[in-house]
């Protein structure tokens, strides 16, 4: 059936059809066109208690062409309530760059908050595709992914690396992530252990208030989090063994998990995506 549809119908029609069939499971909205000027950023988490945080950024223009092309990596930070607090820029022509991020607060407020990453360059993706004779192609944009390295204590040569959280946020703050009418329950396949401490950090990439219910499946305990647009909230978990589920109207609701959070010099710090 899929092959038949792909053969006889345009991609846009199939995409729309798929959107209708999966109307209960929408990740992104369909309302805005994608083009070379669009970019989509993951939603990354800043931890104020870490000694330092580095960002590993990809230079997509250089990766496509195989040549060094000057780009600016931009980082925009939002506080716990989702208000814009700071931006930082970093210029490079490397294929990948490890960037030491400055703390966005002069006087730290809040344990966790969030930031996006987008790339600017005088060389547009359209220009690159045009040079390769693909000028008619549209409906494509860059995803600014990247990885964060969290260093849990001073004088450490290594930290915990993790990729960004689900975002879909463009540089002009357009939010493609969308709500569904029915709630989803996401359960990470992970066993939380009572001898460890965890911070479960959620951020909200949508344009509405995000309500999350955290179910501790072994105790019937439920915790509610209300997160404003671009905001960040966390739940500290201690003395619990078992699984945890997250209920929300997002198609995928996955927190970043800090295991034995910073400051930590015990060597048992870890950060991972649920």
């Amino acid at each position: 059936m899929k092959k038949f549809l792909k053969k006889y119908f345009p991609k846009k029609f199939i995409n729309y059809l798929s959107y209708l069939i999966n109307w209960n499971h929408k990740v992104y909205s369909l309302r805005d066109d994608i083009n070379f000027e669009t970019n989509l950023s993951d939603f990354f988490v800043w931890s104020n208690n870490c000694y330092r945080i580095e960002f590993v950024a990809e230079n997509l223009r250089s990766l496509i062409t195989g040549k060094k092309i000057e780009v600016t990596h931009n980082f925009i930070f939002f506080n716990e309530e989702g208000e814009l607090i700071n931006s930082q820029k970093y210029q490079t022509n490397n294929f990948f760059e490890k960037i030491l991020l400055d703390s966005p607060h002069e006087s730290p407020k809040g344990k966790y908050f969030s930031f996006i990453h987008y790339v600017d360059s005088e060389t547009s993706l359209y220009e690159i595709f045009d040079n390769y004779g693909l000028k008619k192609i549209n409906e494509i944009c860059e995803q600014n992914r990247g990885y964060t390295i969290y260093y849990p204590q001073e004088n450490k040569y290594s930290g915990a690396v993790v990729h960004g959280n689900f975002g879909g946020i463009s540089k002009n703050f357009l939010k493609r992530a969308t709500y569904n009418s029915r709630k989803h329950i996401y359960t990470p396949i992970y066993k939380f252990e009572e001898q460890e401490n965890y911070d479960l950090v959620f951020n909200n990439p949508t344009n509405k208030y995000l309500i999350i219910k955290i179910h501790l499946n072994e105790s019937d305990k439920i915790i509610n989090l209300n997160i404003p647009t671009f905001g960040t909230k966390f739940f500290s978990l201690t003395n619990y063994t078992g699984s945890i589920s997250f209920e929300s109207k997002l198609a995928i609701c996955r927190p970043l998990i800090f295991r034995n959070p910073a400051p930590n010099c015990q060597g048992n710090f870890d950060v991972f995506h649920s």
């Binding site: 409906e139 494509i140 944009c141 390295i149 040569y157 396949i189 992970y190 066993k191 995928i252 710090f269």
Partner: protein
Amino acid sequence: MSSFFPVPPTINIGELSLEIYGSTTFLNIPNNRLKDTIIGKSYNKIIYLGLYALEKCNWSLIKIFKTYPYEYAQVERKDFEVYPNQMLVLVPQKNNNFPKTPKKLPKPDSLRIDKSPVAERCSLNFYFKKSITSYQGEYPFEMASLEKSSFLSFDALKQTYNSKEVVNFIIFMNINVSSDLQGEVKINVFNPCNKSLKKEIIAKRNSFTIHRIQEENNREKINSVDFYTSKDSSFIPINLTLNLKTNQLSAEHTHPPTELFYGLNKMDGVRLLKKTWL
């Protein structure tokens, strides 16, 4: 899309005569689903996990785990008599009818009960002394069914070079359903700035190939990222860092090129990118 759940390898830290060892945690629950309603579905399936090891000519079933809803299965590599990088993989199924010595791995069943997005995953864990690092991973059945594919990755996640304190690894993971595919595959390691070949890694299909990065880069500053390519086979690369002083571990996979674009025509971007490097 259903998935296999590999059990990570054992990694020897030569200078310490110590090992990082792998385990896999499975939980019998669809990891994403619609909330139960009057018309929604509840979950009450028993899932069996067939643990297979790759032998010379076939897959060999070495244990079956039975899990009830919300029940865990923890599979530790050190509990089985297998080589450190021998492929050890869990196959989830709804019925307990695993073949004992198949030439092809049985198809894993999906745990999904609706069309909620996200791949079916388990927790892949690495242990060193009392430290653990985990990531949610899987090996998709479709990827394991490809006879020929290609690979492009980078070692951008390696951490600060300090040979006395930090060691970095890339684990190239490859699974194919067919036990006949066990041959060697070349992975080219090169400097992207001048595209000069620095090294060839001989990886194996249906195996974990462990590459210690530090040995290759001891004369260069750590920020010079190497590219890794293969025209013959795909791999899932896991970047693993160990701090020998604090014992801290960190594991993460790198994004495949398909994750760098979005939109209906994203494969045009991927093709362009791969053409440059492969």
